[in-house]
Amino acid sequence: MKINKFNSREIARYTFAIFVILLGVFFEYLRLGDKFLEFESVGSWLIYIGIVMIAVITIQFFNNRKRVVDERAIFIANKSTRIVFLTIILFAFLIMILDGIHPITMPYHLFMSWLICGLLIVYFISYKIISRFY
């Protein structure tokens, strides 16, 4: 059985995940923020995110699938990024108009989390569509 070795990228990712957990513990200790994204506090949310990050990194580490990032993948990723950038501009324009008509009362952290999820979906879909043409 082939045993994977840690590289600098994985070490950096694990370090960041541990930092997020420690930050969560620190915030929890100081009792900063409450009711954040359906969590009891910002600290508990950060701890949850840190554990999910560690789980994802570990699954990717033990997954032996060979991952090749070639020039075509980079080319498609660049095109998708451009589409995401245009989407941000159009969405911001639309939000400005909607906010003018009827003020948006959604909390900022909730709005941003929805926005990031939306952009990731746009990126994923555009990547899949563009890869069919190139």
């Binding site: 090749v68 070639d70 020039e71 075509r72 993948a73 080319f75 890869s131 043409f133 190139y134």
Partner: protein, 63 residues
């Protein structure tokens, strides 16, 4: 861009997977190149030409 990758690959009895491994790209990229959907960089075109044992890039890739 028209290519003769399939012709020379079949001549050398190399699969798409093997060619992809030899030049360091995915099989999907080789498929795209063979179908003329993707224009490779000069570096990749040069690598493919060498793997297919051709002297000039123009023998494999035609604009």
């Amino acid at each position: 861009m028209k290519t003769k990758i399939t012709f020379y690959r079949n001549k050398l009895k190399i699969t798409q997977e093997e060619l992809a491994d030899l030049v360091g790209v995915t099989r999907q990229t080789i498929i795209s190149l063979e179908q003329g959907r993707y224009n490779p960089s000069l570096e990749l075109a040069n690598k493919i030409t060498k793997v297919l044992k051709r002297k000039y890039i123009e023998e494999v890739f035609k604009i």
